[in-house]
Symmetry: C2
Subunit: 393 residues, 2 copies
C-alpha cells in the first residue's frame, strides 16, 4: 500500500492565509481564512459531514496563551464534534501533522482528513518570540546557556564553511533567490527583490549569518484536505497525490550530533520518502525546503541528494535552484520571503506543491512540473518530515 | 478492519513511573522510567530495531521551558532516528496520542509504535500551574475573564445539582472511593484513605468543589507499546487488545455548549468506541474515567452509559463503581489519588487496563475482568478520547 510510487493519499483542496501581519486576528481566525479557501477549492466536499479528523500543527501556546488548539480550531471553523488534535514538532509541526494525517487516512478510520498549521507571532516582541522559539532547543544543554537559533545555525554554517569552502556569498545568493521568488507570490510576507549586495551589507545576527540570512517572524495559517486515492475523483478533477512520506529524528542537542554539516533526520526521512515513491532525487522537478536560515537550505540540498555532500555552494552558483533552473527550490519564496509562522510552514509547503502541480502558481509556475518534494524541519533539525507529490499525468 | 470487536491493535508492554514528586528529574528522565518498565515487560522487543514511531502526550511546554518533546524523548530513551511527535489535547493529550498511535499501526507504515505521555509540574508554584493549565480553556472568552478550571467544573457541578438533585455528599463519596483505590496502588501519588467526612470538611476551592474534590498536581510519565494484532504473539503471551476507539470534540468554551451537565465529546467518542467494539456499556467490567474533579467522574458515568442521565448520584450511592461493585471505576486511584501529571494521564489509564487485564493489579485486581474502558478528556471537555480493551479469553 502506497509503495512503489502508488499514491498514499490524495490532496483534494488546499488553502493558505496571506503570511505577514494579521493585527487584531486570533490564530483561529487566521486558520479560518486558510480553511475557507480550502473548502472553496473543493466545493463537492461537505465539511461537516465528510471530515473525520483534523491535525493542527501549532508550535507555541505561549504566543496567544492558548493551548488545546485542535479543539479550538475545530470549533471555530464549524467542525465541532470532529476528532481534532494539535501536533507539535517545533517548526516542523505541520510537516508532522501531515504525516499524522496520512496515518489517519491509511488507517481506514478517517476517509477525509484536514491537516494544517497556524501561528500568530507578530504581536509579540522579538525578545518574546526568540524565547518561545528557543523552547524547541534542548533546555538544560542549550537554552540554559543562552544559545538561541541564529547561534545554532551559525555554528552549522561555520562548520560547513570550514569543511567545504562554502562562503557568505553562497548564502546571500540563496536569500536573494528566495526573495526573487517571493516577489512573485501575492501571499508572501515580504514581496520584494533583495539583491545579493543588500544581503551582504546587512548587519550580522550571529556570524556568518546576517539579517537577510534569517527567515521572518510572521502570522499565518495553511491547510490541505486529504482523502484516499480511490475517493479523490469524487471530490476533484485535479488531485495531487502524495507518493512518499518520511519522518525522522536526530539528537535534540547540536552538541550530540555526529555531524554539524548534515542532518541525520533529513537523510533518514528523505531516504524513506524516496523509497516509498520509488524515485531518485534527480526525478524531483521542484522542492520547498526549510530555509529558516540560508545555511539550512544549502545543507538540505545535500541531505536531500540534489547534489553531493559539500557541493551545495556550487549548486547555488549554477542557478539550478532558481526559477527556470533544473530544480527550482522555494518557488513560494520559502520561509525567507514568504514568511515563517512556524506551525503553518509545513503545510504551506504542501500548499505550494498543490498550486504548482495543478498549474495554479501563476507567475512562479514551474513548467511541466510532475513531481515535487517538501522538507520541513523542527528546531535545529532534531525533527524532519519529507513528502513527495505527483500529479496524475 | 477493527470493527465488530476484532482487535484494532494489541498492547504488548506498558510502563509507568510512580506519580508524585520527582525532584531533580527532567520530564524526559521521568519518561525514561516508564519506558524502561515497558521494555522490561516486553523482552522480545528490540526497541531500536522494531519501534517505528512514537507519539508523546505533553500538555505544557511552559513547565520545563521545553517544547519539541517528541524528538527530546526519542533521543533520551535511545531511539534517536525514529519518527517522534508530540501530541497535545490539554489533559487529554495522551488519550489523543493513543488514538494517533492506533492510526499509525493501522496505516501499515508502523508495525510497532510507542504512545505515552509525560508532565513535570511540581517544581512550579500553584499559581504557575494554574496559569499553564488555564491555557486549555478559551483565551478570549474564558481565561481573559479570570476563569480557571476549578471554576469551570464548579459551574458544571452546580448545574448538575440544580437539574438532578446531585449533592456534595455524592461528590465526596467519589473522592473517598478513589482514595480507597489509590491506597492500594504503590505508584499512586497520595496512597491514603480519605473518609467522606474529611472531604466534606475540606475548604472550598470553588463552591461546591472542595479541596478533596480536586485532582493532584503531580510529576509522572506512562507509556504503552502497540502492534498489529497478528504480530502480538511474536512479542508476548498476554496481549491486551484495543477493540474500540473514539475521539471527539465539544465547544472549547463552556458558554457555547448545548448542556452544562453532559459532554458532547464523551458521548460522541464513546458511541464510536462502543460501536467499533460491538458492545454495550453494561458489558464493560471496569473503567478508568477522567476525574480531574469529582463532578467530572459523575458526569462521565452518565455520558458513558453506565447509568441514565441524572442518575450518577444514585450510582455512587449504590457502590457499583467501588472495587467489588458491578463496574469498578478508577481502580488505580484515578486522577484524584493516583495523581494527574496532565500529559501522562491518558496512557496511565491504559497502563491500569494493561495490569488489570493481565491479572497484575495485585490488591486492586478486579476478578474475571475481561473488558475495560478508558475515558480521557482535555480542558473542560472540549476533547474526549475513549478506548475499549479486552483480553484474549
Amino acid at each position: 500500500m502506497g509503495l512503489n510510487g502508488k499514491p498514499l493519499v490524495s490532496i483534494i483542496g488546499a488553502g493558505m492565509s496571506k503570511f505577514g501581519k494579521h493585527d487584531g486576528l486570533l490564530g483561529r481566525e487566521i486558520f479560518g481564512l486558510a480553511a475557507t479557501e480550502a473548502f472553496s477549492r473543493c466545493p463537492k466536499l461537505d465539511p461537516k459531514q465528510d471530515v473525520k479528523a483534523m491535525f493542527i500543527g501549532h508550535m507555541g501556546e505561549s504566543y496567544e496563551h492558548q493551548g488545546h488548539m485542535g479543539a479550538t480550531i475545530a470549533d471555530w471553523i464549524g467542525l465541532r464534534g470532529v476528532a481534532a488534535t494539535r501536533v507539535e514538532a517545533a517548526c516542523g509541526s505541520s510537516g508532522a501533522a501531515l504525516r499524522t494525517g496520512i496515518y489517519a487516512v491509511l488507517s481506514g478510520l478517517s476517509d477525509v482528513v484536514i491537516v494544517g498549521g497556524v501561528e500568530k507571532m507578530t504581536h509579540r516582541t522579538t525578545a518574546e518570540v526568540t524565547e518561545y522559539l528557543a523552547m524547541a532547543a534542548d533546555y538544560p544543554f542549550e537554552q540554559f546557556h543562552g544559545i538561541t537559533f541564529p547561534g545554532l545555525f551559525a555554528m552549522m554554517a561555520t562548520a560547513h564553511m570550514n569543511a567545504y569552502g562554502t562562503t557568505e556569498q553562497h548564502l546571500a545568493k540563496i536569500a536573494s533567490k528566495n526573495h526573487h521568488h517571493g516577489a512573485l507570490n501575492p501571499k508572501a510576507h515580504m514581496q520584494k527583490e533583495v539583491p545579493v549586495e543588500t544581503v551582504m551589507g546587512s548587519k550580522y545576527v550571529a556570524w556568518p549569518l546576517k539579517l537577510y540570512d534569517c527567515s521572518l517572524i510572521s502570522d499565518g495559517a495553511s491547510c490541505i484536505i486529504l482523502t484516499k486515492p480511490e475517493l479523490a475523483a469524487k471530490y476533484t478533477d485535479q488531485p495531487v497525490h502524495i507518493v512518499g512520506s518520511g519522518q525522522a529524528t536526530d539528537a535534540i542537542g547540536l552538541y550530540e550530533r555526529d555531524s554539524l554539516t548534515s542532518l541525520q533526520s533529513t537523510k533518514l526521512a528523505s531516504k524513506a520518502a524516496y523509497e516509498m515513491a520509488n524515485i531518485k532525487p534527480e526525478q524531483v522537478n521542484l522542492a520547498e525546503v526549510h530555509d529558516c536560515f540560508t545555511i539550512a537550505e544549502l545543507i538540505a540540498y545535500e541531505d536531500l541528494g540534489f547534489c553531493a555532500l559539500g557541493e551545495g555552494g556550487k549548486l547555488v552558483d549554477s542557478g539550478a535552484t532558481s526559477l527556470g533552473g533544473a530544480i527550482p527550490v522555494n518557488t513560494s519564496g520559502g520561509l525567507k520571503s514568504k514568511g515563517h509562522p512556524v506551525g503553518a510552514t509545513g503545510t504551506a509547503q504542501a500548499y505550494e506543491m498543490y498550486l504548482q502541480l495543478t498549474d495554479q502558481a501563476d507567475k512562479r509556475q514551474v513548467k511541466d512540473a510532475k513531481v515535487g518534494l517538501t522538507h520541513n524541519i523542527g528546531g535545529s533539525g532534531a525533527t524532519a518530515a519529507v513528502h513527495i507529490y505527483r500529479r496524475d499525468q
